[in-house]
């Protein structure tokens, strides 16, 4: 047996040497041989435009995750290489996804913030049978009528955002018999969020006294603020995205309005930009840097050490998505998308740096996990520029099913195209 083995090894070496000679040690062949050793992951997220500031955090966190994975031995003993690109807009996003998959042979695509771009990337992913993990697109439609077998969602769906913060509003008596005024970003994310928040209001006995669609390039909210003051609602509900949220909060404080504010679309970077004295209200968030779990503390420490500022929620999404992929590939000893998808659909559990592990729901590929509602601190209780809010305990509570905040089948059903 041992002889036989030696013989095989020797002949293998000879053959390999022969092939190297025959191919003339051509540079492209060597390059190909080397790249076969690394596992590539494609990362797409907007770096420019009104979502660019959030994309920056996504990219920073993706780098950190890959660094940590490589330091711990990579995936299946192979080094991980991250290809990062600015997805710019839905058309460019799909072109870049296609190139990453077909030319660069990435194992999967991770990222995105714009729901519209998520959709075009998912179409490429389905056609090429490549795993795509959405880390920032919130629209329920992506988990409903537009759902795709090859797309999974680390980012929470709009329903989860609305139901999470909705609990705080219910507790504070701001729903039943109350009047809301909403401002909504005029694109797919905003429309979807408005639909979901209206459903929540109708189910709980409140009503909208006004809902304005705001063009995504609007920076001045004075005209809206005058209308809100005239309408005297009980709550101002904000469904804006990107820098608009910051602009709104700064001008809300400027006009001295005191009506309670809340919102369904939120990112901590936008609250930080509004700053002390301007940031008000209660908002839902998928993760924040104050979470008191060992995993989150380690992530915040590593991120802060590398970038000199704490990570915001978008950073968590991309960090965790890459960690999930690495863990799965190492466990399965395979980087093939169909196998990974099967593993996800079977309900594999993942550490999400929160108090309990999460899993992907097989029916719509949504990550089931805890969320939080954060409330702005009064100015005199703020100690630094980052810790400007206090958090609710995890939602759902420890004795509840993780699914209670997600959209039900009746609210949003997904049938995967075969």
């Amino acid at each position: 047996m041992s002889n036989n083995n030696q013989f095989t090894r020797r002949s293998l070496l000879k053959t390999a040497g022969g092939i190297a000679l025959v191919s003339g040690i051509s540079a492209p062949a060597i390059l190909r041989a080397q790249t076969a050793e690394v596992i590539r992951i494609g990362h797409l997220t907007p770096r420019t435009g009104f979502l660019g500031p959030l994309g920056e955090y996504a990219a920073m966190a993706a780098d950190l995750a890959v660094e940590e994975i490589n330091a711990a031995g990579g995936m299946m003993g192979r080094k991980v290489e991250l290809l990062k690109e600015d997805s710019v807009n839905p058309q460019t996003a799909s072109t870049k996804a296609e190139r990453m998959i077909e030319r660069d042979k990435v194992a999967c695509i991770i990222g995105e913030i714009s729901s519209a771009s998520c959709l075009t990337i998912a179409q490429v992913a389905s056609r090429t049978k490549t795993l795509y993990i959405n880390t920032g697109g919130n629209s329920d439609a992506l988990r409903g009528k537009d759902c795709q077998r090859y797309m999974f969602h680390v980012e929470s769906q709009n329903s989860m955002y609305v139901k999470t913060v909705g609990r705080s509003f219910l507790r504070d008596g701001l729903v039943k018999g109350k009047k809301w005024y909403s401002l909504t970003a005029d694109y797919s994310f905003g429309h979807d969020l408005l639909k979901v928040s209206k459903r929540f209001m109708e189910a709980n006995g409140g009503q909208f006294v006004g809902d304005d669609l705001v063009p995504t390039d609007a920076a001045d909210f004075s005209a809206y603020l005058l209308k809100i003051r005239e309408a005297k609602p009980d709550l101002v509900a904000i469904n804006l995205a990107g820098n608009q949220t910051t602009n709104f909060l700064k001008q809300y404080a400027e006009f001295g309005l005191t009506i309670p504010v809340g919102g369904f679309g939120f990112d901590t970077a936008l609250a930080w930009a509004a700053g002390k004295g301007n940031f008000v209200g209660t908002w839902p968030v998928v993760w924040h840097h104050q979470l008191d779990t060992p995993g989150s503390k380690a992530f915040v420490a590593a991120f802060t050490k590398k970038y000199n500022k704490p990570p915001e929620n978008q950073a968590w999404g991309d960090y965790i998505a890459i960690k999930i992929v690495a863990q799965t590939i190492n466990e399965l000893k395979s980087a093939e998308s169909p196998k990974i998808i099967q593993h996800f659909e079977k309900g594999a559990k993942f550490d999400l740096l929160k108090t309990r592990p999460g899993y992907f729901r097989a029916s719509d590929h949504q990550l089931m996990h805890e969320m939080y509602a954060v409330t702005a601190l009064p100015a005199d209780k703020i100690k630094n520029q980052w810790d400007i809010f206090a958090s609710s305990p995890a939602v759902p509570g420890p004795n509840e099913d993780l699914e209670v905040i997600a959209a039900t089948k009746e609210e949003n059903s997904c049938t995967f195209p075969s």
């Binding site: 609007a218 005239e230 910051t246 602009n247 700064k250 400027e254 006009f255």
Partner: protein, 292 residues
Amino acid sequence: MSAMLLAQQILNGLLDGVYYLLIALGLSLIFSLGGIVNLAHGAFYAIGAYLTLVLSPWLGFGGSFVAAPVAVAMLGIVIERTLFRRFYRSDPILSLLMTFGLAMVAEQALRMIFGAPPLSYSIPPWLRGQVAIGSFIYSFYRVVLLGIAATCIAGLWLLLQKTSFGRVVRAGVQNPDMVGALGISLQPYMSAVAALGIGLAGFAGVLLAPIYSIHPAMGQEIITPAFVVVVIGGLGSFWGVVAAALLVGLVKGVMVGIGYSAASTAAIYLLMLLVLLFRPRGLFGERITRFE
């Protein structure tokens, strides 16, 4: 909607339009004298806002209120001497490409230095609060802004109309060769006009930093409406730009006020289309090469 609210929206729209003016006037001024279509104008607005942020801890808002626009104006002189100067009286497409590139370089530089996430900056406590004008309650800061902007406009008009500096600039706009033949070098005037126009953009950045989100691409946000204002008013017309800025603000405010907010941006482009259909050179743009 009540008549009172409509009146408020009209007033607010007029005030809103004034902010475009500070950007649009500089844009128009630089175009008139040198024929430079300055796509980087918004970038100087962004630089003004970031400078306020950097200087405030040392100089306070009052100090950076003076220092930041002056610094941006200095930068304007450097840009004029090194870049603009090469493109006077050449095909406008060249200066357009050059300033487009300049805008991208400036935005990326801000991104590299300050990072992409928006930064926080608030109205100083002594400028916070509300004022009541009759039963119309308004932000005190915006009333102050309005006063400052009106002063700037009046000052600029006086400078161009009533001083020898203004006379040379206006003569230079109409016939640069004749000015040269009279033995007056236009070069220092060109630098001064660039400093003035770009400094105004920087000043707008200082004024709007406390109420708008500060991020590297903020210049892009403001440049589009500013161009629309200049086109509606008529390139090179001082009062055309003033009228157009007020009109644009008014249309936006009223659209939001009457419940068509989703179309408020589209309405401005529609307004531009209508104006250009009937007056292809803008509202007051019949004397296209003159700035008066």
